[in-house]
């Protein structure tokens, strides 16, 4: 299987990439390529121009800006796993990256590509919702920032406009009295999630001060389980409340039936992944 013909561009800078993207009709950005190239082989995508960001060192790397963790969009999954800064400031992302695909794919696949592609099966979008991350986006009119919340609009549809490039992901710290939980059900290595749930919460004493629940692959895009969050916010979370929240999670789900399961199964698995993630988050916040 070979993609149909295209012109290949190796930009010298992000500015150059944006210029190429805007000057050429039907141009696409190539990040890690492990979603786009398979789609091109199957002719689901036939861009006339490919703009390869892999040579751009300015899009790589992980740094701290105050207490915000800043991750270059072209940082690979394995670079996340190996990063001392990520281990220290956002171990959740290490847990997530370890369950993405397999070692070879993690050497190519990038966090920015995973977020910007808009596939509801990708792992980072729902995690970014739960982390309340912010995306740095550059376009012909300069740089802008957009919150993860509100960015995921539908399948392969995000807040990234045509002609724009995502350059960085900014992740605020999880507070000292906070915790996270990440649970992903998958059939085998390399498969997308049957269902996944990320929970990030903050406690005030025994009470849940803030909570965000992000769900993977149970709707046309990554979603927040907002009704469940509203139920739990301000409460002392116990098993009875977790059960009520799980019911609300199921009401938020709108999965597509496929080989991973039917609608009912996936919906129930999203609830179960959320129960586990809430318990994990509480345990981490309490320790």
């Amino acid at each position: 299987m070979i993609p149909s013909g295209f012109e290949y561009h190796r930009p010298s800078s992000v500015q150059d990439a944006i210029r190429l993207l805007n000057e050429n009709e039907d141009a696409k950005i190539l990040a890690g390529g492990h979603s786009l190239l398979p789609m091109m082989k199957l002719r689901f995508a036939e861009p006339a121009h490919l703009i390869d960001l892999n040579g751009l060192a300015e899009l790589k790397g992980i740094r701290l800006d105050g207490d915000t963790l800043c991750i270059g969009a072209m940082t690979t999954e394995n670079e996340l796993i190996d990063s001392d800064l990520v281990k220290q400031h956002c171990p959740l992302l290490v847990d997530v990256a370890k369950l993405v695909a397999d070692p070879q794919v993690r050497n190519r696949g990038t966090v920015g590509g995973d977020v910007a592609h808009g596939d509801p099966g990708n792992d980072h979008p729902a995690v970014m919702l739960a982390l309340d991350a912010e995306f740095v986006i550059q376009g012909p009119d300069g740089e802008r920032r957009q919150a993860a919340n509100g960015f995921f609009l539908g399948t392969y549809w995000t807040g990234l406009e045509e002609g724009e490039v995502m350059t960085e992901i900014r992740i605020p710290p999880i507070p000292a009295n906070g915790g996270y939980g990440y649970n992903k059900l998958k059939r085998k290595t390399g498969d997308y999630a049957t269902a996944g749930s990320t929970v990030v919460l903050e406690l005030d004493g025994a009470s849940c001060k803030e909570i965000r629940i992000g769900l993977t692959n149970v709707a046309p895009m990554a979603i927040r389980a907002e009704a469940a969050e509203d139920l739990l916010r301000g409460q002392n979370i116990d098993e009875a409340l977790i059960e009520q929240a799980a019911e609300l999670v199921m009401q938020a789900c709108d999965p597509a039936e496929d080989l991973r399961g039917d609608i009912q199964y996936k919906t129930h698995m999203a609830a179960e992944m959320t129960r586990r993630s809430i318990r994990d988050a509480l345990a981490r916040a309490g320790s």
Binding site: M1, I2, P3, S4, G5, F6, E7, Y8, R10, G33, H34, L37, P38, K41, L50, D52, N54, N78, A101, D102, P103, Q104, V105, N107, R108, T189, G190
Partner: protein, 158 residues
């Protein structure tokens, strides 16, 4: 589309090739450079038989454009033996780490890189580190044994 010139190091030797932009690295290796040790399996980045080293990391060469190897370093299974068999090759023979042999080039290439990343892996770490390579004969047990055996031998030599 017109062919374009790429230049890269292949098994330690500088190579020039003309490739179409849409050409995948595995096709260039097999069809242009006649190195057929790297196999083509699923072509969807699942099975890992096309695994090679690109710039010091394992990649699936069915999902990398040949253009992306430009000015890089590629090692294929043909580059493993250096006068004598590489420790992972010898260990796959001794531990019977293959049945039909189709997945073996990818297994060898991933195993030698894994042992550079982690010279003393636990069994669980080997299984996690080799998880991108499938064996349709399901001969995984002996593959794990072979990687363990190669790890021991390489550590003794170090």
């Amino acid at each position: 589309m017109a062919k374009q010139h790429i230049s890269f190091s292949l098994n330690g030797e500088q190579i020039d090739a003309l490739v179409e932009p849409r050409e995948l690295l595995v096709h260039t290796l097999r069809e242009t450079l006649n190195l057929t040790g790297t196999h083509i399996g699923c072509e969807t980045s699942h099975c890992g038989v096309c695994t090679v080293d690109l710039n010091g990391v394992s990649v699936k060469s069915c999902t990398v454009l040949a253009m992306q190897a430009h000015e890089g370093e590629v090692t294929t299974v043909e580059g493993l033996a250096n006068g004598e068999l590489h420790a992972v090759q010898q260990a796959f023979i001794e531990e019977h780490g293959l049945q039909c042999g189709f997945c073996t080039p990818g297994m060898l290439m991933r195993a030698q890189r894994l042992l550079q990343e982690n010279p003393d892996p636990s069994e669980e770490e080997i299984r996690w580190g080799m998880a991108g390579n499938l064996c349709r004969c399901t001969g995984y047990q002996n593959i794990i044994k072979a990687v363990q055996s190669a790890a021991k031998k390489l550590q003794q030599e170090a």
